[in-house]
């Protein structure tokens, strides 16, 4: 082939045509890729470089290269460690509850029954609610002046008197977590439902004929079929939830007394309120490394599990 190509050079028009054909997929991709490069990749590299500079917006004297100083500060910053702990709790609890409840909902909706269409549309509705709005909505629900929840908690004997959960440092993080779970259940339910509906029905029938009970069928058919979808959605959602600051910014601003500050909201506060772009970027770089480490651990774990089975 190669020798033939070299021996008989194609006519110029043919080469041009071939070039156009070869370039076609790149042309289709170009607008998206150029935009992503300009708005996401360049800022990402810049952001990483800011982490090594003393950069405060509106302060012309700043901007010097300062090496790893910011990272030493991060290490000594109690707020960072506090935010890291909160990030862990926030992410694990929110993902766990969303996943568990989303799975139950998907299993319920997978059974054909009268009224399923309308129930599905209603129960998925929270997903359409902008997340800042669901934050506000839940902040109102927890508010003792207009919201019902303080009275419910009081009535259940959880609190001595109706008070705002969001102003209690010991439990405030539950506020944004509940809002996040409310907002995120539909996402898990939609993706898991889609995966459930792609399981061939005859496998279940065969297993039922062989005398397998409902729990047995769930364990040996449904779970293995769902596993890949579960792994991907949990991975993506974990990263996404760990990164999302808007619910917390809207509901508590990280307070009271930093008890709801997660890394993402701490970064945003540093950049937006203190305009300390250098330190914010250093914190963001740490978060990026942690998330990359997490993603790699998951992928490795999956590989080991796959090669063992």
């Amino acid at each position: 082939m190669t020798a033939l190509d070299l021996g008989a050079p194609a006519a110029p028009r043919l080469t041009l045509r071939r070039f156009a054909l070869a370039a076609e997929p790149y042309l289709y991709c170009a607008p998206a890729l150029i935009l992503i490069a300009a708005i996401m990749l360049v800022p990402l590299v810049l952001g990483l470089s800011y982490a090594f500079r003393d950069l405060v917006l509106l302060d012309p004297a700043s901007g010097d290269f300062i090496g790893f100083t910011h990272f030493v500060e991060v290490w000594q910053d109690d707020n960072f460690w506090n935010a890291l702990r909160n990030t862990l709790v926030w992410t694990v609890v929110a993902v766990g509850l969303q996943f568990g409840l989303g799975l139950v909902l998907a299993l319920l909706l997978n059974q054909p029954c009268p009224g399923r269409g309308i129930i599905q549309a209603l129960v998925f509705l929270p997903w359409a609610v902008p997340s800042f709005l669901s934050g506000l909505n839940w902040a109102w629900m927890f508010n003792p002046v207009i919201g019902p929840l303080p009275y419910v908690f009081h009535w259940l004997g959880l609190t001595d008197r109706p008070e705002n959960l969001l102003s209690d440092p010991a439990h405030a993080l539950w506020g944004p977590i509940i809002a996040m779970v409310w907002w995120g259940i539909p996402f898990f339910a939609i993706t898991l439902l889609a995966a459930l509906q792609s399981i061939p029905k005859d496998i279940f029938e065969a297993a039922a004929l062989d005398g397998a009970g409902a729990i047995e069928r769930f364990r040996s058919i449904t779970l293995p079929f769902l596993a890949p979808t579960m792994a991907i959605t949990v991975l993506l959602r974990t990263v996404w939830i760990a990164n999302s600051a808007d619910l917390i910014v809207v509901m508590t601003h990280g307070g009271p007394a930093d008890s709801t500050q997660i890394l993402a909201s701490y970064i945003f506060t540093q950049a937006f309120q203190r305009l300390d772009f250098g330190y914010a970027s250093a914190l963001a770089a740490v978060l990026l490394v942690l998330l990359l480490g997490y993603a790699m651990a998951i992928v490795l774990l999956r590989q080991t599990l796959l090669s063992r089975s």
């Binding site: 076609e24 997929p25 790149y26 289709y28 991709c29 998206a32 890729l33 935009l35 992503i36 300009a38 708005i39 996401m40 360049v42 800022p43 810049l46 952001g47 800011y50 409840l101 139950v104 909706l109 029954c113 129930i119 549309a121 209603l122 129960v123 998925f124 509705l125 929270p126 359409a128 902008p130 997340s131 800042f132 709005l133 506000l136 839940w138 109102w140 002046v145 207009i146 009275y151 409310w182 993706t191 889609a194 995966a195 509906q197 792609s198 990263v239 996404w240 990164n243 600051a245 910014v249 809207v250 993402a264 970064i267 945003f268 950049a271 937006f272 772009f277 914010a280 978060l287 990026l288």
Partner: protein, 275 residues
Amino acid sequence: MRGAGHWTFHYGMLALFTAFALFPLFWAFKVSVTPNDLLYSEGVRLWPSRVSFAHYGTVLRHSDFPLFFRNSVVVSTGTAVLSTLFAAAGGYAVSRFSFRGKLPIIGLLLVTQMFPLVMIVAPIFRLLAPLGLTNSLTGLIIVYTAFNVPFAVFLMGSFFDGIPKELEEAAMMDGASRFQALLQIILPLTLPGIAATLGFVFTAAWSELLFALMLNSSTAASTFPVGLLAFVSKFSVDFGQMMAAGIMALIPVCIFFFLIQRHLVQGLTAGAVKG
């Protein structure tokens, strides 16, 4: 046949989920139609003894909300159209061609979904400010389009995968160029996919808060989320008006959601089947 006990449990559970999903929205609506004098005097109850839409009138006439609403419509529509256009082209390439660099491109798109967007808040501000793209709706459209294009490419790609290749191959045999075949044969068939992508991106752009807060601080260029948040911190006592504004912010996205919900599940199912 399943027993009555099973169905009681089934519908009972679904009722709990539906109640959990709808109650906060119901509550916001209830407070938005409660007249101020009843809000405090009646205590906590499920429905006020008198209903009024006065809060809606006040918000529409005596606040900047119509402006914020207009800004959000401009930004979200612009973002949705631009993203879908770019994603249709990109998704078509990913679905129909095999070319050098395809895997790295897909990997790149995935990576953009993984890293913390808060990381690029500061650099984007510094990049856009000298170009006059902060406090500008155009700036927001550009930024949001970049954020939404990666997922939209995957979505469009999975819809293109659902259309047989033979269709455009037949058209090309008849002498049409690939681009003509794409425009005249494939795109009309992908209309549900295009609608789903438009709706998805519109909703995402309508909801975005942090970048809008950072990039557009002036009232004239504020979007709905920023306006609502400013409203909340400024008039934090007037719950009725706040909730009226919140309910109005919900209307466009809910309409979109109901229109596209089915297609979105379809697109995800196609993706799930493909693996």
